[in-house]
Symmetry: C2
Subunit: 543 residues, 2 copies
């Protein structure tokens, strides 16, 4: 009986231990280091350098299009700055080959008939030169199904084509910038566990996407001088611009589509025009006016170095047992080209650099280093499909297969990884964090947010959020998280626009974000255990 | 006693008659013609052509800078259109000499060092050519008092000068467009009788104005290549631009200042730069970077016809007794040059033209003409100081002296004048009318607004409103009124901006305005009496 009693006692002890380790009760008592938080807040809120960093990344070195010399210069500056702050092992890790870089030297676009006016527009990235200036006729391309192609066959060469119909505008009776209110945060807090995932398209949407590809294919066969669109958002002088489009063979998945940055890919010059000017041109054509435009576009391609680089820097771990375990902070460093990439994502990059600076200062004040290694990664190629972060994960943690597939093989460092924190939803302050469906981290993050309720950061949401580099980690079962941020004017004005510039970043928001990120990194580095994970293989569609 | 009784009775009768004629009771019974209102509403709301008119005035012929060939073309089109509608006595009445016209052919502005980026900017009207492109150094001009001039003497020639410090931006947490709400309208309804008037400047403001003149004088002595500012409003790609500045001798009243349109006046090229780009350049200079810009500006002056024209058109009066009395509708037809002058003031011009079209159709349906003459006036030179309407008043109604002075002499037509209605506060629908301190018209306008409460127009306000052409009439004791309009995005986005274009006008608002204006003109033309006047000479400052 004794042994039986002993066994029962052992079982009970095991159960109690498990309860202690895993129960919500214990998680609610996740420790926070009040001294460290005080030091982090002082450094982050009172001695911030985040706007200084932002200035260099935007005004001086922006924009930072992947592959461009300006991106290289910006990264070289960031490397020097991190070293100057005492952050260690600063290095550029190559990935690729990516393709060619692109620099805009100048462009000019004017309507010259039936009236003359300067056109507010931006070339799409990787558009080739239009040596000139060249004056050409502007024509509509009203194709709602493939039967309409015949009417345009042989008639578009050398013309300037309006790709889409006018867009009707609504006056801004609602604020263009906003902070998350209680309703908004409550909806996030109460969100259910994310089911499945991935974007699902209706049959009608799939047909539209297919038609868009067919239209593009047709235009590439017909070789107009230039293609103009007006994007689906933006007005009053804000123009949203990304990359020139190239046609893909039917059925090509989006992540395998040929980018205009690929060497040898032929690109037709493309421009996004301020919607008001686009609509004006379209209306003139509708009334039967012959419209002519003059375009001049001077760009360079950079083919000499097809590789790109992520910038990596560390505060090395000092705990003999867990010093080689990783806590990572990251943000993408590349941007689109029409602004200076201030909110997308110099803001995130500056916050993450600032978090490293804060942590270095705080550990110095504490007279020791972090237990785990805290590693910063500034990614490139994010705007072309999370290329830099995916390559990094592939190089270090797990051999990737296609999107939505489980990894082919895990690498040893996969086991040593604790957590990755990302910031890439604009310049808005942190209001909480998305759990990415990982329920076990809820009590941990709840405890870590508790000292920052006064700064507006309190909400945890089971919801997934997508579109940025934490997905590269999440896809291989590594805990990767993106913070919940205030919207500000990200969706309406700055995200990929010509107005994504320094002046539309709010200093207090970046200071708050850097402070909270630093505290999260500190606690993740100092915690006894790594951050709990979701099970592998991943449920289908969870990414 | 009888005779005494008779006298008393006569007195009582006279008193009752006076009461009938002048009492608020009678005024409350100001007649409205329900048949005419029904016809006007049908024509104005269901068969509107106002957006068609707006299209021609903006997309085809805009902008319409005073003195420019485009203004002439727009006016020729409007004259043809009015004639096509059957409006009579369409004629251009000259005023002036105004000076020279100006046409922008093209321009280009780029920062070329220490980084390259295209600059969103517009030349100020009447800036002369910069033949080039010319590349020059950009310098700050931080002059807060005259002692600072010495440091700049001899150093600005050939440079590009930043006229003012950066402007800090606020994100758009408040709506940029708005309609008047009940609070706003109630404040107008309850406004007291306007006292005095005119803009009063504080001593500090006067010193700032004087310093601004001194700075301008200094710059004209130093002859930089160009002067850049960033205006006090606008962001996110909306740039507010008006005329190049030229210095005036100290003490010159504003209405006598030399305009850059005056023949022989030397003008330094001036540009208003998007605030974000301006601030970026300034920040780079602050950090010690040498900044260079490339500018190219190709314009024409037009000196051949120094006169300008107001466009006049009529529905002739048909009442033998009062057919030569005048009811006038007007709006200024000229605009600034960076957009197409859509809300300032193609909207007002299109509404007034549409009101004439509606009236012509309605009188045709009624089988008769108006009792009084209804005359349309589309003014020019408004943006340079109400020049066209003042000249018209001077030619027809009263010899003008300086601003704020009573007229020197009244002309016979002064007596035959009933009322002038103006529309020039953007594209917003009519919410009521400013009485301009004329209390006697309150019951009349209240009755005329009654059939339009369902369209949101109900408020009468004793308040004065200024800044547009009704002032030219009001200044000589003629009843001149401007309607209360919804703000929309006039003050924040369109008024004198590059985004004052067709797409930011709301069709339903213009239809409503044209309908109400037509009804006001109809009632003013059909009413037995002319509109009551304020006493002459004018109280000081009432204009």
């Amino acid at each position: 009986m004794w042994s039986a009693i002993v066994t029962a006692r052992k079982r009970k002890l095991t159960f109690l231990l498990a309860l202690l380790l895993w129960s919500p009760l214990l998680h609610a008592q996740e420790p926070v280091d009040t001294l460290a938080i005080r030091l982090i807040r002082e450094e982050g809120l009172q001695r911030s350098q985040v706007m200084e960093t932002l200035f260099w990344l935007t005004d001086v070195y922006g924009p930072r299009l992947t592959g461009s010399p300006q991106l290289d210069s910006a990264m070289a500056w960031a490397a020097r700055q991190l070293q100057a702050w005492g952050v260690q092992h600063v290095r550029q890790e190559p990935w690729g080959p990516f393709g060619r870089g692109w620099t805009l030297h100048h462009f000019r676009m004017e309507v010259t008939a039936p009236v003359s006016f300067p056109v507010l527009a931006y070339p799409k990235a990787w558009s080739p030169d239009i040596e000139g200036p060249v004056t050409a006729e502007v024509v509509r391309f009203d194709v709602e199904d493939t039967s309409a192609f015949a009417a345009y066959r042989g008639k578009l060469r050398g013309k300037i084509v309006l790709l889409e119909p006018p867009r009707e505008l609504n006056e801004p009776f609602e604020p263009l910038a906003r902070r998350r209110d209680a309703d908004d945060l409550l909806a996030l807090a109460n969100a259910a566990h994310p089911e499945g995932g991935g974007r699902r398209y209706s049959a009608a949407a799939l047909r539209r996407l297919e038609l868009a590809q067919q239209r593009l294919q047709f235009l590439y066969e017909e070789q107009p001088l230039a293609i103009l669109d007006r994007n689906f958002r933006g007005d009053y002088g804000t123009v949203f611009v990304s990359a020139a489009r190239v046609p893909a063979p039917p059925g090509t998945p989006w992540f395998e589509r040929p980018g205009p940055w690929k060497p040898g890919v032929q690109v037709i010059p493309q421009f996004t025009v301020a919607v008001e000017h686009y609509n004006r041109i379209y209306r003139l054509l509708e009334r039967g006016f012959r419209v002519e435009m003059t375009i001049d576009l001077d760009v360079s391609y950079h083919e000499n170095d097809p590789y790109e680089y992520n910038l990596i820097a560390e505060l090395p771990g000092t705990d003999p047992r867990i010093g080689d375990e990783l806590v990572m902070l990251g943000a993408h460093f590349d941007s689109w080209h029409a602004g200076t990439g201030a909110t997308d994502n110099a803001a995130g990059s500056a916050v993450m650099m600032e978090a490293m600076r804060i942590l270095k200062r705080v550990y110095d004040q504490l007279g020791r280093g972090p237990r785990r290694t805290i590693r910063l990664a500034l990614w490139t190629g994010e705007e072309q499909g999370l290329l830099g972060s995916r390559a990094y994960v592939n190089q270090h943690f797990a051999e990737l297969q296609g999107w939505g597939q489980p990894p082919a093989r895990l690498k040893p460092a996969h086991e040593k990884f604790s957590v990755y924190f990302n910031l890439d939803n604009g310049g808005g302050k942190i209001r909480g964090i998305y759990l990415q469906g990982n329920e076990a981290v809820a009590p941990i993050f709840r405890a870590w947010l508790a000292p920052f309720h006064d700064l507006g950061a309190a909400t945890i949401s089971l919801r997934n959020t997508g579109g940025t580099d934490h997905l590269s980690f999440d896809a291989v079962g590594l805990p990767g998280f993106q913070f919940i941020q205030d919207h500000l004017a990200y969706g309406t004005r700055t995200h990929h626009s010509n107005m994504d510039v320094f002046d539309h970043v709010i200093a207090d928001d970046l200071k708050q974000a850097a402070t909270i990120v630093a505290a999260f990194a500190y606690h993740a580095a100092e915690r006894d255990e790594r951050i709990p994970r979701k099970p592998l293989p991943l449920p289908e569609g969870t990414r």
